[in-house]
C-alpha cells in the first residue's frame, strides 16, 4: 500500500507542479500586459466567481454530469446487449456492423434538435439519448470484437471438452471481452461528457454547463471561465474513474499494472 502511494505521488507531482506554474504565469501575464477581463480574466478572479456562484455552478455540473452518466450507462448496456445479439446471429452482424461504423462517422449529436421536438421542452431525455447513442457505438464495436476474437486454440479445447455453446460463451467469449469493455469505457466516458455539453446547444433546458459557458463568456468572462473549469473537472472525473476501473479489472485478472499482454 505504501509503495502504491509513493508511486502515485511520484506520478502526480510533476503535472500538479506544472499546472500550478501555468496558473501563476497566467496570473502574471494578465497583470503584466494589462489584458482586459473580457479578453482573459485572471485565475484569481475566476476562483472568486467559483466561490460566489458555487450553487449555480454545482447545479449546472449536476445537470450535465447526470446527462452524461445516464447516457453512458444506458449506452453501455445497449452496446453490450447488441454485441451479444451480433455474436449469436451472424446475419445480423453483417447488417448492423457496417451501419454502426458509418453512423459513428456522422456528427449525430445534431439529432438532438430533432429529438427535442418529440419531447416536452424541459425534458432531459433527448440529450441523454444523444449521449447514449454516441457511447453505444464505442461499446458495441469493442465488445463485439472481444466476443468474436477468441483464440482458435481456446475454441478447439472447449470443443474437445464437449462444451456446449453456452459454456463457450461463459468460459471463453465473455472473459475475453471484459478488457475490451473497460477499454471502450475509458474511450467512451470523456466522449459522453463532451457529448452532454455539445448537446445543450441543440435543445432542451438552458441549465447545463455547455449552455452556461456560452452565455456567461459574453456577459461576465470570469464566470464563463468558472464554468469552463467545472467542465474540465467533470471530464477529468469521468476519465479518472474509467481508467481506475480498467486498471482494477486488469489487476484482478492478473495482468501487471502496466497491462502486459500475453
Amino acid at each position: 500500500m505504501n509503495a502504491t502511494t509513493a508511486r502515485l505521488l511520484r506520478a502526480t507531482w510533476p503535472p500538479v507542479v506544472f499546472g500550478g506554474a501555468l496558473l501563476l504565469a497566467w496570473q502574471g501575464a494578465v497583470k503584466l500586459f494589462d489584458w482586459k477581463p473580457y479578453f482573459l480574466p485572471t485565475p484569481l478572479s475566476i476562483a472568486d466567481r467559483i466561490q460566489e456562484h458555487f450553487p449555480l455552478i454545482r447545479a449546472a455540473t449536476w445537470v450535465s454530469g447526470m446527462n452524461a452518466l445516464v447516457g453512458l450507462l444506458a449506452g453501455t448496456v445497449a452496446g453490450v446487449v447488441v454485441a451479444f445479439a451480433l455474436m449469436r446471429f451472424r446475419m445480423l452482424n453483417e447488417l448492423v456492423t457496417p451501419l454502426a461504423i458509418a453512423l459513428n462517422a456522422i456528427p449525430i449529436v445534431v439529432l438532438v434538435g430533432v429529438l427535442s421536438k418529440l419531447y416536452p421542452p424541459t425534458s432531459e431525455v433527448p440529450r441523454r439519448v444523444m449521449v447514449m447513442l454516441v457511447v453505444y457505438f464505442v461499446i458495441l464495436v469493442n465488445v463485439a470484437k472481444g466476443l468474436r476474437q477468441v483464440q482458435p486454440t481456446h475454441l478447439e479445447l472447449l470443443r474437445s471438452y464437449a462444451a456446449g455453446p453456452f459454456a463457450v460463451i461463459r468460459k471463453a467469449r465473455i472473459p475475453n471481452a471484459v478488457p475490451y469493455l473497460f477499454t471502450a469505457l475509458r474511450i467512451a466516458a470523456p466522449t459522453a461528457v463532451i457529448t452532454a455539453f455539445v448537446a445543450e446547444y441543440f435543445g432542451g433546458q438552458q441549465n447545463g454547463i455547455g449552455y452556461r459557458i456560452t452565455t456567461y463568456l459574453r456577459r461576465d468572462a470570469a464566470l464563463g471561465w468558472a464554468f469552463v473549469f467545472a467542465a474540465i473537472a467533470l471530464g477529468l472525473a469521468f476519465y479518472l474513474i474509467s481508467i481506475a476501473l480498467e486498471s482494477l479489472i486488469n489487476q484482478q485478472r492478473g495482468r501487471g499494472p502496466q497491462g502486459e499482454h500475453t
Binding site: P152, T153, R159, S160, P175, T262
Partner: protein, 290 residues
C-alpha cells in the same frame, strides 16, 4: 476358438485399441474447385498404453488426422473409434486430452484454474477439482506456481500446465499436436523425458504429431510415417528403445539407427509447404463453422 474364451473377464476397454482408424479419408470442400484431399484411406491402430508418433512433411494431414480423432472435424469416409466408442461419444465423455503447439492457456485464469477447466465442464465439485488439479500440477512439478497467471510462466512451464490440463480428467488417450514445437532444444528434451515419465506412470496412450525425427524416435514405441497430398500412411518404424529411456538413450547406436531408418523412409516423399497453408486455412474455417 477355445482360446477366445479367456479374455472375456478383462475390462473391455483394455482389450480394445485406444484408437482405431479404418479407411479414413478427409476432403475439405468436397465437390468444389477448392476441394483439398487431406487424407486418403488411413488405417491405423494405437494400442492401449502405446505411444505412437505421426511424422511426415508439411501438408501430409497429420494435424487433420488428430482433429478427426478428437471429433473436432468429421471424416469424409471411414470409421474412427476410441476405446471402442465413436469419436463423438468419446469426445462427449472426455475420453481424450489434447495439447497443441500453443499452450492455449486462458490468461484470465490462474494456473490451477486452467487445469480445473475440463473438470468444471465435467461438473465436478469445487473441492474435488481443486484437489485433482493440484495433483496434476505436482505431476508436472508446478505445484508452487498454482496461483500464478500464465504470463508469469516461461514457455516450457506453460506447456507443462497445458499437459497437466490435458491429463486432468484422467483420459485414456492424449492427442498432442507438436506440443514442444515452440520450445528451445534444452527445454524440449527435458519436456520429452517428463512426458514419457508421466505417460508411463499413468498408463496413458499417446498419439503425437511432430516434425522432428529425433523427437519421434525418442518418444515413441512406434513411428508412423505419412506422405502428403493426400496424406497416406507409407510406413512404420518400431523403435524398441525400452521402457526406461534416459539421457543416454539419445546417444545409443540403436537410437541413431532408428533415426536413420525414419529419415530414409521420409526421403523421397517430398514436402509441400503451400498445401499445408491451404489445409491450415480450411481446417480453421471448418472449426469456425461450429
Amino acid at each position: 476358438m477355445t482360446l477366445e474364451a479367456e479374455p472375456a473377464a478383462a475390462p473391455l476397454a483394455a482389450s480394445r485399441p485406444a484408437v482405431a482408424l479404418t479407411g479414413v479419408s478427409k476432403t475439405f470442400n468436397p465437390g468444389t474447385s477448392r476441394a483439398v484431399h487431406a487424407l486418403a484411406d488411413i488405417t491405423l491402430d494405437v494400442a492401449a498404453g502405446e505411444f505412437v508418433t505421426l511424422i511426415g512433411p508439411s501438408g501430409c494431414g497429420k494435424s487433420t488426422l488428430l482433429r478427426l480423432i478428437a471429433n473436432l472435424i468429421e471424416p469424409t469416409a471411414g470409421a474412427v473409434t476410441l476405446g471402442g466408442k465413436s469419436a463423438a461419444h468419446a469426445r462427449a465423455d472426455q475420453d481424450y486430452g489434447m495439447a497443441f503447439q500453443q499452450a492455449g492457456l486462458f490468461e484470465w485464469r490462474t494456473v490451477v484454474r486452467n487445469v480445473e477447466l475440463p473438470l468444471e465442464l465435467k461438473g465436478w465439485s469445487r473441492g474435488r477439482r481443486r484437489e485433482r488439479a493440484m495433483e496434476m500440477l505436482a505431476l508436472v512439478k508446478l505445484e508452487d506456481f498454482s496461483k500464478h497467471h500464465p504470463w508469469q510462466l516461461s514457455g516450457g512451464m506453460q506447456q507443462r500446465v497445458a499437459i497437466a490440463r490435458a491429463l486432468a480428467a484422467a483420459p485414456a488417450l492424449l492427442l498432442m499436436d507438436e506440443p514442444f514445437g515452440a520450445l528451445d532444444e534444452m527445454t524440449r528434451e527435458h519436456m520429452q523425458s517428463e512426458l514419457l515419465r508421466i505417460c508411463t506412470d499413468t498408463g496413458t496412450s499417446v498419439l503425437f504429431v511432430t516434425h522432428s525425427i529425433p523427437e519421434a524416435v525418442y518418444l515413441s514405441d512406434r513411428v508412423v510415417v505419412m506422405s502428403p497430398r493426400p496424406g497416406r500412411v507409407t510406413g512404420e518404424v518400431t523403435t524398441d528403445l525400452g521402457e526406461d529411456r534416459g539421457v543416454e538413450s539419445r546417444e545409443e547406436r540403436r537410437f541413431f539407427e532408428k533415426v536413420t531408418e525414419v529419415r530414409e523412409m521420409l526421403r523421397g516423399i517430398g514436402g509441400a509447404t503451400d498445401d499445408e497453408l491451404a489445409i491450415e486455412r480450411m481446417r480453421t474455417a471448418g472449426v469456425d463453422d461450429r
